[in-house]
């Protein structure tokens, strides 16, 4: 049965060979000639590097000359609708997301792998555009994609394209950075405005009935982080507030470190267009996703220096001090409102839903 199926699919019964250059067909995932063609025509022109060009099922990389004894590894599967949105696309997201996750340990990201799940019928031009965007983001971050994989699933079994990326990097010796290291007395910084990515993607779906000029902040943050950590190795926490937004990420840190984090509503940088869109939809920007921001928690006496460094970096221009770490109440995040009152800043229960009226 399966042979018959593959015969009709590959089409040797057809007197002339068919070339599928406009959209993905099942044959592109067969592992045979069509897969090779796809790799040669779509991926290789953009991802060319010595490890990939060797053509093996593995990437053979040279270990860096360093005294680092720790490797940071991270993996992330990326799904987003629409695939292309203002300020980015799924490709840039897939590269930046994993580069950033590795960099949040203080590591220097060394290499990435990429696994593609393509839906039958996906436009090859669109795929090329996304692959090109991945290559640009990888070049910007200075992190090569050294291994890859492609599978094709039948139409209807995926949403166009899913990308998994895995990355690793070497952690310079002496660093101790992680969500569990926030200490009472620390300052809490954010590298820029919040909520841009979530609102950009939501408006790109086109069902809000209004348009905005908001673009996603998706960006690689490894160079910005490298600059901070080089000057201030005693940074305690670095974390990117992606899904669940600033509020959810701060709650994770407060729980991991068993401390209180109190932030000032007035000091949180939010673009007016994002604030307005959130106001209309009944969203709280503190819970909206970011893809190019980092929370930096470090000893208070280093806060000013860190802000100066961040503000000189691309993607750090709007860095701001937003709050402090205290001992109690443990594992809680509090918000001091602009009216001077204090309230709990809880995690999001489930999906954020537009309110009714």
């Amino acid at each position: 049965m399966s042979e018959t199926a593959s015969v009709t699919m590959e089409g040797p019964v057809c007197p002339l060979p068919l070339h599928h250059h406009t959209q993905i067909v099942m044959g592109h995932g067969s592992g045979g000639r069509m897969t090779q063609e796809l790799i040669q025509e779509v991926f290789m022109p953009y991802f060319s590097n010595p490890a990939l060009l060797e053509g093996n099922d593995f990437a053979n990389l040279l270990a860096p000359i360093t005294d680092a004894r720790h490797i940071a590894v991270s993996t992330d599967s990326h799904i987003v609708f629409p695939l292309i949105f203002p300020g980015g696309d799924i490709g840039r997201l897939a590269v930046c997301g994993t580069v950033n996750d590795v960099a949040m340990s203080g590591a220097i990201p060394a290499a990435l792998t990429a696994g593609f799940i393509l839906e039958e019928g996906l436009s090859i031009d669109l795929l090329k555009q996304i692959v090109r965007s991945m290559a640009m983001a990888s070049e910007e971050a200075g992190v090569a994609i050294v291994a890859g994989d492609t599978k094709v699933v039948e139409r209807g079994k995926a949403d166009g394209l899913f990308i998994n990326t895995t990355g690793f990097g070497w952690v310079p010796d002496g660093l101790q950075i992680g969500g569990q290291f926030a200490k009472p007395g620390d300052a809490v910084l954010i590298s820029g405005t919040i909520g841009d990515h979530g609102i950009a993607v939501l408006t790109a779906r086109g069902d809000l009935g209004f348009e905005t000029e908001i673009v996603s902040d998706v960006a690689p943050l490894n160079l910005l982080i490298e600059a901070v950590v080089a000057e201030i190795p005693k940074v305690h926490v670095l974390r990117d507030p992606t899904r669940g937004g600033l509020a959810t990420t701060l709650n994770e840190i407060a729980t991991q470190s068993d401390v209180n984090i109190t932030i000032e509503e007035n000091s949180i940088p939010i673009r007016p267009a994002v604030a307005t869109a959130c106001e209309m939809l009944g969203f709280d920007p503190l819970y909206v996703a970011n893809e190019g921001k980092v929370i930096v928690i470090l000893p208070e006496d280093k806060a000013e220096l860190a802000l100066q460094i961040l503000r000189k970096q691309k993607y750090g221009e709007n860095a701001t001090l937003i709050g402090h770490v205290y001992e109690k109440p443990k594992s809680r995040v509090l918000l001091r409102t602009r009216l001077g009152t204090t309230r709990l800043l809880d995690v999001l229960a489930g999906e954020m839903l537009p309110r009714i009226c």
């Binding site: 069902d207 809000l208 009935g209 007016p272 604030a275 307005t276 106001e279 939809l281 009944g282 109440p329 809680r332 509090l334 409102t337 602009r338 009216l339 001077g340 009152t341 204090t342 309230r343 709990l344 809880d346 229960a349 489930g350 839903l353 537009p354 309110r355 009714i356 009226c357």
Partner: protein, 365 residues
Amino acid sequence: MRYVDEFRDSELTKILVDRIHRVTKHPWVIMEICGGQTHSILQNGIDQLLPKEIELVHGPGCPVCVTSLELVDKALAIAAMPNVIFCSFGDMLRVPGSGKDLFSVRASGGQVRIVYSPLDAVKIAQANPDKEVVFFAIGFETTGPANAMSVIQAKALGIKNFSVLVSQVTVPPAMHVILGSPQNRVQGFLAAGHVCAVMGYWEYPPIAEKYQIPIVVTGFEPIDLLKGILVTVEQLEKGSHIVENAYTRVVSYEGNQPAQTILKKVFEPCDRNWRGIGLIPNSGWKLRPEFANYDAELKFKVSDIHTQESPICISGQILQGRKKPPQCPAFGAQCTPEYPLGATMVSSEGTCAAYYRYAREEMSS
């Protein structure tokens, strides 16, 4: 943000808070009607700014919360039908019916879509002529005009595969229920600003007169809320009980006349079952007979609905201002926004959800 920031100004807040402190001499219980007001009060910590004599209790004005369990179960049954696209405001998807919610219907293969306006559901019907598109038309007087408009538009466009599952409720009858109860504690009302934007406030003087209670039309931003509270306390301290408007930038006495005309054209009054409270006579709207073709209850004839509420949930007493969430044994324990037992926990405007989200710290200390 213009037209918003002005009403969150901290200097103006201080002035109003000082005046409230100066005016207040006696203990007073004031109820804000609308869930949006409850949410704003807790989000901004307005209750922390008030003198200890003033107790705010939270009213029934959360449309998601008061939609009857029977209608939620009907919605779940219709949404699970194979040829139906069920459209709803986002808030409604997590509301638990007797056994599941719309999210789980969607996970089981039902076509459930979030729309931002009922008119979007009409467009979906137009684009899917082979499907039946049903919109869950819930809400108070605020959502009524847009819900009515969807029916008018569907009729004008000759769309036959569109219908609405109506659960419209109205505020004044609920005020009568609260004030007429022997257990009533409410001494002053902050009327719901957006309801009054549609309806005006001509319905309220007889209520103020009958129950000798001040009713003050109030908005949603901190300055609006404080102004409403100040005007209410001033009346209470003077012993006056009239209807006043502290939300003049949005609300007029007559309200939005074209909106009221549309409401009258499409809907007629009916009795409604309020979740947690029970049947309130003449407390809602249903479609007029000439729009019967657009009535999802008639179209789908869902029967065999056996509702079952959680036996420990006290949302009914919370909706009437008799109890506050921390007085419920399940609050924050068995009942959380992730696993809500009653509707006041599930909607973002529900009182229990607002307490859980913003004020849990006070509860545990």
